[in-house]
Amino acid sequence: MRTRVNDFAIKLANVNGTGSASANGLLMQAIFRMGIPVSGKNLFPSNIQGLPTWYEIRVNKDGYTARALDYDLMVAMNAQTYARDIQEVRSGGYVLYDSSWPLERSLHREDVSFLPVPLARLCNEQFEGARERVLLKNIAYSGVLVALLDADMQIVEELLAETFASKKSLHDANRRALHIGIDYAREHFECPLPFRLEKTDANAGKILIDGNTATALGCLYAGATVAAWYPITPATSVMDAFRGFCEKYRRDPETGANNCCIIQAEDELAAIGMVIGAGWMGARAFTSTAGPGISLMNELLGLAYYGEIPAVVIDVQRVGPSTGMPTRTQQGDLLECAYASHGDTKHILLLPANPAECFEFAVNAFDLAERFQTPVLMLSDLDIGMNDWVVPQLEWDDAYTPDRGRVLGEDALRGLSVFQRFTNEDENAVAARTLPGVNSNGAYMLRGSGHNKYGGYTEQPHEYQEVVDRLLAKHRAAARFVPPPEIVRMTDARIGVITTGGCDAAVREALDVLGGQGLAADYLRIRAFPFAKIVADFIEEHEYCFVVEQNRDAQLRSLLLLETSAPKEKLISVLVYGGFPLSAAQVVQGVTEKLGVVSAVHR
């Protein structure tokens, strides 16, 4: 049989809360350290313990690391889900299961190979204590996988040693469990399987990081000092990570005092209120949340927009509407965020595709918020935020200084006779602001009620319109400052494919597949709203464009139709919104199906 090297997908089916996450992470990290392009997708339930959970690892020498739907090996460790897990393995694939208990005959498949390992029995013989046995069973199946896939032993040993550097007894137990698995596999199966790992050097200069950690790092480096939040999946780890970094980097070495204030708010209404208060006072402040939080924040996002106060909101999108599916991923908050709040409002959105962009865009968000004196929302999603991604090492330029925008300081205010908050705007329609605590000459009443360009209360139509028209001009001006779209052009492509955020990897893989089938398409990935002019040009240049996104209502397409002059019939949706990370196969299928329809029409 032909052996496939560094090109396969495995799925691990576990019970939530039994310690499988660390075993799966160990495998993922070992593969990363072997220098092989890899991705791990944690498909977990909204539950603390007991419900089924899955982890998928895709290894691909060509760097295609979007979610695979075709599994070569199923590690079936959850009897509750045996039936569906065994069905998901591709024909000719393998099923590893715990043979301490017999597998029901009805679950057998003729076209897959079963690898029975009596994991529970082996662990019961070797270890005392119920909890230890359960936990180490995970490490034991990792051992089986190490042997079956030919993982680098030295790397695996190193990882274990690092993980348990300070707990020798745990290290010993884990090593033993690992070797129980390895020895059993080598004794009973032909190792490695026809697909295996082999060391390479694709990961030089790369790191393995989740988007929420990278986002928190961006906020740290941007100089955020006030953070307010309300716990919510999948955004909680943004603030957990930020707090962790602050403990390390924001303690004054002399006094031990904190150069930051992180507040767990009573709700998201308060969280955004605190951010706005801090932004008005002149601090860099942010909140992290998910869709339900954005719903609550709508009210005060309008205040920040109309009062022209910088604010940064990190929205790690999950599946809505309502509570929806908190541990599943989607791009369902685009429209809600673009026009958050009542009345005429438009916000700046940043749309990262991976953790590296989360870091970069988080810093951009603070600069844009202060430059344009307005809320900036960065929308990642659960897949980007909570899964580990292989990305280029993050870089920082020590020459960076925060863009504080137009702020009148003490010198400018001292001789000033009258300060008028919303006039004398610059070429980007931004007026200078003043901060409290500097000089009385800069004092003014900020209000969310109708105001004229001088900052005074008004109910006069022309005075009101003058201000909101400038706000629109300001939003348009921001299009020149936000991250431009990423465009990849083929020769003579008549079709375009537009997408955004975490769809990137799957769509680009799909374009290669489609290219191999003779369909050349140009690629454009939207990275921000308002849209740069080249977005409209791109649509104009192509006969039609597919718009691939992860929501039911084609929100990106709607936004494109609303904000460019693109005709409806030119934008064709490919929508995948069940809640799991996008896979290239879904894009290929969607485009192919729609292509049939389009060709029929165009013929």
């Binding site: 990081i209 790092l217 209120g273 006072m281 601090a283 409290p436 605590g437 009385s440 209000r447």
Partner: protein, 351 residues
């Protein structure tokens, strides 16, 4: 909130405070509230208190939500930044502002609708965090701007202008604050400026969150005979629990011999609050007894005023957070960013 600018002329003989400012320097634009509104009297008392404590105008932040009360920040200290924000959200916005800049003095002005209905959650949590601020509730029992609906502080049996009695339990901000662990709780009456000024001065100097509930009759919708929050009823039913005087840290206490029955409390910043209790045995440092006394008086229909409870020993939000003394807005960026070399180093954990 149309605002009318007052003439800037000053009488040369006006008395000046330590900053060389006259009381006129602590005024704002002309009020657009109804003639006789209790809120305007409260504003006048606040102006006096701020002048007497020599508050530098630019170091004051005037915060409010929405409602008649929330308009008042425009009517005092025009040299201070003000933020007339959104209904009920003032405590949260002030918490964020205070987090960013601990050097400012925060005066939040709210009403019973703003604080006891739409924003009650934020009020409760600002109390829990002990955010250092003067939180003033101008309490009139009605929604004025929307024409006279009962608010959550309306007493059972108190009648609307049309004569319908309120049947629901009132939320008393003083009892609420005491039960939540508020560290400074006072109640005043807009018609008693002499009592309000020292309460405000003490509240401005308090270590943490100072909750001041002021009964402020609504002359248009809630000052009739059936109302429990009318001028007449408040005057008739009012009882003073304490009478306070306030001495600035720099000031010498001129009366060497303490007046009989006068107790002194050292405020966190070194100023001295001197007060005399009126009912025998009243102790504003004993939360449980204060609560039971207030409940008894409430049953009897009395309105107890004065500095009702005070505890200067509880750390405020920043002390609890161990925030650096320098306002976070002034911490240099170089201290906040760990730099490129450290970014490279910390990423070893992700390899």
């Amino acid at each position: 909130m149309p605002s009318i600018v007052k003439p800037a002329a000053r009488h040369p003989s006006l008395q000046r405070n330590e900053l060389g400012l006259t009381i006129r320097d602590y005024e704002g634009s002309m009020s657009t509230l109804c003639a006789g509104c209790g809120h305007d009297s409260i504003t006048a008392a606040l102006v006096r208190a701020l002048w007497e404590v020599s508050m530098p105008p630019h170091m004051l932040a005037k915060m409010s939500g929405i409602g008649c009360s929330s308009k008042t920040p425009a009517y005092f200290v025009s040299g201070a930044h003000g933020f007339n924000s959104a209904h009920g959200r003032m405590p949260a916005i002030t918490t964020g502002a205070a987090a960013a800049n601990r050097a400012m003095t925060y005066v939040g002005i709210s009403g019973d609708g703003d604080s006891l209905s739409i924003g009650i959650g934020h009020l409760c949590h600002a109390i829990r965090r002990n955010v250092k601020m003067l939180y003033l509730i101008e309490n009139n029992g009605v929604y004025g701007l929307t024409k006279g609906q009962f608010s959550a502080s309306a007493d059972i049996g108190s009648k609307s202008k049309k004569g319908e009695p309120n049947r629901m339990q009132p939320i008393d901000p003083v009892l609420l604050g005491l039960s939540l662990g508020a560290t400074f709780v006072a109640r005043g009456f807009s018609g008693d400026k002499e009592q309000l000024v020292p309460i405000f001065k003490a509240a401005l100097r308090h270590r943490g969150f100072a909750l001041v509930d002021v009964i402020s009759p609504c002359v248009t919708f809630n000052d009739h005979s059936g109302s429990t929050k009318s001028y007449l009823n408040t005057r008739k039913r009012g009882i003073r629990a304490t009478e306070a005087d306030f001495v600035m840290p720099q000031q010498e206490i001129l009366t060497n011999i303490a007046d009989e029955g006068v107790t002194s409390v050292a405020m966190h910043d070194g100023s001295i609050l001197r007060f005399r209790v009126v009912p025998e045995g009243y102790d504003p440092s004993d939360r449980e007894r204060v609560l039971s006394y207030l409940l008894e008086q409430q049953q009897a229909g009395h309105i107890v005023t004065g500095i009702l409870f005070l505890d200067e020993n509880v750390p405020d939000m920043h002390e609890a957070n161990n925030t650096t003394q320098m306002p976070l807005t002034q911490v240099p960026y170089a201290k906040l960013c760990p730099g490129a070399a450290e970014l490279a180093r910390l990423q070893e954990a992700f390899q």
